[in-house]
């Protein structure tokens, strides 16, 4: 019951964040959440590198690409992080970057958009649909979005009795100057 309540609160918070015209002060990068034995584990990636040219008026003309370092995964438990960097999960030695490249961006409601991205983890590339919103701030802005993926679609780990397949990924990146 407590877990359900927490999940509900979390989703509520996310909805508020996505619809709030006030952008967060600083981009928080790439985080993710996954259920493990009924507990929501939150993790993050860093070493974010972006190549973003975003036009909120003509999103179809935008180009969005980002990568993070696979070895930068952090979940709050050092040995778990080490394990996740190895074969069976992110194999950071052989696949050091996780990549996302936009293939198509469509305008949604208000300041929000739907993007189709190619996500590459390990040697697997699959399309993912990302719902995100744009928060301008001066000549820059934030893109804040989320998507879900099935970790096994990308070869991340194997079937588990306790670890969920579904991962929610939350992205908050700073855009460069407007392209218009």
């Amino acid at each position: 019951m407590m877990i359900r309540l927490l999940s509900f609160l979390f989703l509520g918070l996310l909805c508020r964040l996505l619809n709030n015209p006030e952008a967060p002060e600083q981009a928080s990068g790439v985080t993710f959440q996954i259920r493990n034995a009924g507990i929501v584990v939150t993790g993050s990636f860093s070493d974010l590198k972006t190549n973003i040219h975003f036009d909120p008026v003509r999103p179809e003309a935008s180009s969005l690409a980002a990568t993070v370092g696979a070895a930068t995964i952090r979940t709050g438990i050092t040995l778990r992080d080490t394990h996740l960097q190895k074969r069976g999960y992110f194999d950071a030695e052989h696949f050091p970057r996780i990549k996302m490249v936009a293939k198509r961006i469509q305008k949604g409601s208000n300041n929000c958009y739907v993007g189709l991205f190619d996500l590459t983890i390990l040697s697997v590339t699959k399309p993912v649909e990302v719902f995100f919103c744009y928060y301008p701030k001066g000549n820059k802005g934030h893109l804040t979005g989320q998507f879900r993926l099935n970790r096994q679609d990308f070869g991340l780990g194997s079937t588990s009795l306790v670890l969920s397949n579904e991962v929610m990924v939350l992205i908050d990146v700073e855009t460069g100057p407007l392209v218009r």
Partner: protein
């Protein structure tokens, strides 16, 4: 008066009843599907390579194995502590004839096979390990602080009648290591045993009539891994009796003097309850368990056959440690006979049937909090419910996983940093430690693969990482204080969370 329809109906009922009776009889009949133990194909994938690959044991051939005479499982009798023996028991025992206890022709049901397996579990493979004089003396119980059951018996060995009036103490049965006497005197068969065997052997060596060569030979034959550079046990085998005694004294009950393992790096005795669900056997994952046949192979190996394996030419039970003795002429314990396949099958069925005792620890608010902490701390990743192990192998520090093994075995590719010596410097060393199950920790201990820590409280005590820590379990020869490193999870928990986690673990 019976009408034709009534007769037909009656006849039909009779046929129906008769058919049901036959079906019942058929369903009760148990036809065991007994695997061939020393099957060369099955053996080929049974052993994991050793960390020093060239020393990976080459087992005796199938032809050799089946030339060994079969063991006879005799009826055995409990050994009582002095003052606890029933009146006239000893005199009664003197009048008994030897009786074969295992006869597969008489086993009709699955329950029969399991019961017969218990006889094999309790059966000795040696009558020289314990002496009659020893187990009937008060000193044996006092000096060794020998656990005694509520019934007054010492359940780690049993009397066997060799011939009428000639009684011996049968030892080296499965019961010797896998029997636990609880503080209330109850006995858990199959659990991590608590026979103080190292203490007993140390006390034997203390006898001034026992020459130092006996101790040195004991270490060399049981523990040496001479292919290693500067093998620690080969070194120990050249040292004084006092040094060997000190090494033995450092081993607590719950660890065991076991061939191929170590005195300097002793193995914690595993719990056999629930072993059916393990994919690997031995702390080092030395053997795979793919079928019941593998457990049979494991029992055969560990009850003597591994003394005849060749480790890069070193044969522990060989003539001059180099030449395989003729079948049936081996002098190493357990190496002159073999179990029949039927005996091993019954034994494996018995081991698979073992159930844990009723757990006195109940689920409550504290344990539920502990369960949450168990998940939050990520314990579930390795100790995954419902088995509380993910059945994977973790590499020890200093071991590089051979590339092809990534595809051969389920490897959890991080070291948890526990002492690597057992898996790098013994005959059982694969370079890995398997992830142990946490089931039944409430009745077990000491913990970690070498039994360094006596209790769960100690495992979760951050002070164990300090050099001035006094290990509560295995200390190490001549060592008073040392850090017990590795598996450093949950050490920074708040006291109340630690309490909750331990309470939860004790419900498993």
């Amino acid at each position: 008066m019976l009408t034709l329809p009534m007769i037909l109906l009656f006849a039909g009922l009779m046929i129906s009843c008769s058919s049901n009776t036959e079906q019942t009889a058929v369903s009760n009949a148990f036809v065991p599907d007994i695997p061939r133990t020393w099957d060369s194909t099955a053996l080929a994938g049974f052993d994991l390579p050793l960390a020093t690959a060239r020393a990976t044991p080459k087992q005796v051939s199938s032809s050799y194995y089946y030339q060994l005479p079969e063991r006879v499982i005799y009826k055995s009798y409990p050994i009582y502590a002095p003052g606890r023996e029933p009146k006239d028991y000893w005199a009664w025992l003197q009048k008994q004839e030897p009786r074969q206890a295992f006869d597969p022709a008489k086993l009709k049901t699955e329950a029969d096979w399991i019961k017969a397996g218990e006889l094999v579990f309790d059966a000795s493979i040696d009558t020289a390990v314990f002496s009659l004089q020893e187990v009937r003396s008060n000193a044996f119980y006092v000096q060794n602080r020998m656990p005694i059951s509520a019934a007054g018996n010492m359940p780690f060995a049993r009397y066997v009648v060799l011939k009428k009036g000639l009684i011996a103490v049968g030892g080296l049965g499965c019961n010797m290591c896998h029997t636990r006497v609880m503080p209330d005197g109850s006995v858990i068969k199959g659990a991590q045993g608590n026979l103080p065997e190292a203490r007993r052997v140390a006390n034997i060596f203390r006898n001034p009539h026992v020459p130092k060569e006996a101790g040195q030979g004991f270490v060399r034959n049981l523990m040496a891994a001479p292919w290693l550079t500067d093998d620690p046990h080969t070194r120990l085998s050249h040292q004084s009796k006092e040094k060997i005694i000190a090494a033995l004294d450092a081993m607590p009950p719950g660890t065991m003097l076991r061939q191929g393992a170590g005195i300097l790096f002793p193995p914690q005795i595993p719990d056999l309850i629930g072993v059916k669900d393990r994919q690997f056997l031995d702390h080092t994952g030395l053997n795979r368990q793919r079928t019941i046949g593998d457990l049979m192979r494991y029992a055969a190996l560990n009850q003597g056959m591994d003394n005849l394996a060749s480790y890069a030419g070193f044969i522990p039970g060989g003539i001059g440690a180099k030449i395989l003795p003729p079948p049936g002429k081996g002098l190493a314990p357990g190496s002159a006979f073999r179990y029949s396949d039927a005996q091993l099958y019954a034994l494996a069925r018995y081991v698979y049937s073992l159930k844990p005792p009723t757990n006195p620890n109940r689920v409550n608010a504290l344990t539920r909090q502990g369960e949450r902490i168990f998940a939050q701390q990520g314990c579930v990743t390795c100790h995954t419910p419902p088995l509380f192990t993910n059945n994977m192998l973790t590499p020890a520090d200093g071991f590089t996983i051979p590339e092809k093994q990534y595809k051969q075995y389920p490897i959890f590719d991080i070291s948890v940093g526990t002492n690597p010596d057992y898996t790098l410097k013994t005959r059982r060393g694969t370079g890995y430690y398997k992830v142990p199950s946490l089931k039944g920790v409430w009745y077990r201990g000491p913990f970690l693969h070498d039994g360094s820590l006596a209790s769960l409280e100690d495992v979760l005590d951050a002070r164990r990482l300090r050099d001035d820590y006094v290990p509560t379990g295995f200390k190490g020869a001549g060592i008073r204080t040392r850090a017990v490193k590795g598996h450093e999870f949950g050490l920074d928990l708040k006291a109340k969370d630690r309490l909750a986690l331990i309470a939860y673990l004790k419900t498993l």
